[in-house]
Amino acid sequence: MIPIKFDPTFYPSPKLAMKAPREKLAYVACLYEGTGVDKNDFIAVIDVDEKSPTYSKIIGKVEMPYKGDELHHFGWNACSSSLCPNGNPALERRYLVVPGLRSSRIYIIDVKTNPIKPKIIKIIEPKEVIERSGYSRLHTVHCGPNGIYISALGNSEGEGPGGILVLDHFTFDVLGKWEIDRGDQYFAYDFWWNLPNEVMVTSEWGVPNTIENGLKLEDLKEGYGNRIHFWDLQRRRKIQSLTLGEENRMALELRPFHDPTKLMGFVNIVVSTKDLSSSVWLWYYEDKKWNAEKVIEIPAEKSEGNLPEILRPFNLIPPLVTDIDLSLDDRYLYVSCWGTGEVRKYDVSNPFKPVLVGKVKIGGIGSGKTGGPQMLEISRDGKRVYVTNSLYSTWDNQFYPEGIRGWMIKLNSEEGLSQDKDFFVDFGEARAHQVRLSGGDASSDSYCYP
């Protein structure tokens, strides 16, 4: 069958994408790793249509055939980047590309045939990933201009350097390692790009051997990264690195401005070794070089006792900013504080001077509730923010030793920020990580037009 129309979920610009119909389904990565429950991870399908009788319920799921994958981040096979002036518009947003962070296995899941009964159509085994790319422990997925890009935390031995591999858009074959000249880049985590300006930016967490068995305080000195790297997207060569404060560790989520004419974006720092604060940095291009400055700092809070073992030496609750997300109009930045249990909303109309305009408290360390707000996903119109509560299995167990029951909530963000009391998804013993919204969301698509 030859389609007369291309994928209707693709939009040339973020402004046009904001007018897209609202999402009806959410896909959520759910995992049992670290829970003691001997079950397979799954992708849950959540009804997010307020008019539906099954609103806020799990209405479908696809279970992975193997145990221990640790589903984490995932993405689409294709997105609005296909509409770039010389892109390949023949693609369609049909498959979820779901890597296992612990297993390095990649699942290709068809959600078009029956969106509430997704089906695995291809499995790329870890052996193939490692043989063809040299990488393992797969993280971020982005639908790129010439293929599907996936970041990896390390090599097959669990050491560095981590990097990026590329899958073929049509066959999903592993094409190989992306970098040609990485310079001194060693740690890896997230990545994104500005397509018209041919710039990729990557961030740093730690290598698999450092992170997989839990956070060790002695590793905070040198075992975690604090830099971001800028790359020539075409020549696959690192062009500049920036250190985001010597005392800071774990530069994680990268949120470039969606407007491609703006060469800037945000990145979150999870922890300062000086005072356990978290921060958000703005990176921007000026005077023919990349620059960065701290624009948000969130201090640690005094504890009233009942701290997990890892925090007892400090007697403080760190905010642990582990995720940030930028609305499609580049106006609001949402910040999750997994430690102190807050979601914050900042007006970043002036990105150098963000203004706190909303705040919601949901759980947190010592609150007696299960977990804290962690992964964020904003709807394309910017009116809703979906939140889940698991970070990473072994780290979940350290910071929330009482255990985490997976949940997903919704925040109304049209005016200020408030929790929608009618929306609560309980995943039971499974933990919930990344959310992807049907048709796309604020962290899934890249645009070429302003």
């Binding site: 030859i2 389609p3 007369i4 129309k5 291309f6 994928d7 209707p8 693709f10 939009y11 040339p12 046009l16 509409l83 770039c84 002036p85 010389n86 892109g87 390949n88 518009p89 023949a90 693609l91 201009p145 010439n146 049509f170 397509l195 018209p196 300006n197 041919e198 997207l233 075409q234 004419t261 070429c448 037009y449 302003p450």
Partner: protein, 182 residues
């Protein structure tokens, strides 16, 4: 007259396909390169001229019908393998970059065969083909720059395939017309 009309139709079909140059032109304008964007429209419309000299050296007028059938048949793989007839390159908003990737895809898709063939029918037909294409492209870019809702609708149409299918149909009609006019 019929041949001229059919030639003009072929050019309009190609001109409406915004994936053939117009998108890049609009993109250049978005990045503040208005003149380059308009020059690019001219380049994409005049590109066929580069290929017509070649056609006079390799073919003779008497083989027009045979070549026409080959031309029509060349659309078959284009229709079947439409997804793969493309290389994205990169998206740097500059005129030279746009030209590089446009010409590259022009060759990959063998888009030069159609104007070559039309030039063999007669240079006046080629002139009609080029002018109709230029006017269509200019019209489309003015419309999509001013009406974002039309831009959104048109960018989502599978215009490459619409062009393949309708061109194949018009070429077959042209062949029949040519057969009876010779």
């Amino acid at each position: 007259m019929l041949l001229l009309i059919l030639t003009a139709i072929l050019s309009v079909i190609e001109g409406i396909n915004i994936y053939k140059g117009i998108l890049f032109s609009s993109y250049l304008i978005d990045f503040g390169k208005r003149v380059q964007g308009l020059v690019f429209i001219l380049v994409t419309s005049l590109l066929p001229v580069l290929f017509i000299f070649f056609s006079f050296y390799v073919v003779v007028q008497s083989e027009l019908l045979v070549l026409g059938v080959i031309l029509a048949l060349s659309y078959l793989p284009k229709i079947i393998l439409w997804k793969y007839y493309h290389y994205s390159g990169n998206y740097i908003p500059s005129l030279t970059n746009a030209m590089k990737w446009y010409v590259m895809n022009y060759i990959i898709k063998m888009d030069f065969i159609l104007p070559m063939y039309i030039s063999l029918i007669g240079l006046n037909y080629l002139l009609v083909f080029i002018l109709a294409g230029l006017i269509t492209r200019m019209t489309v870019i003015i419309i999509i720059r001013n009406f974002k809702s039309i831009f959104l609708k048109i960018i989502r149409l599978n215009l490459p395939q619409v062009e393949n299918l309708s061109s194949a149909f018009v070429i077959l009609t042209l062949l029949i017309a040519l057969h009876y006019s010779i």
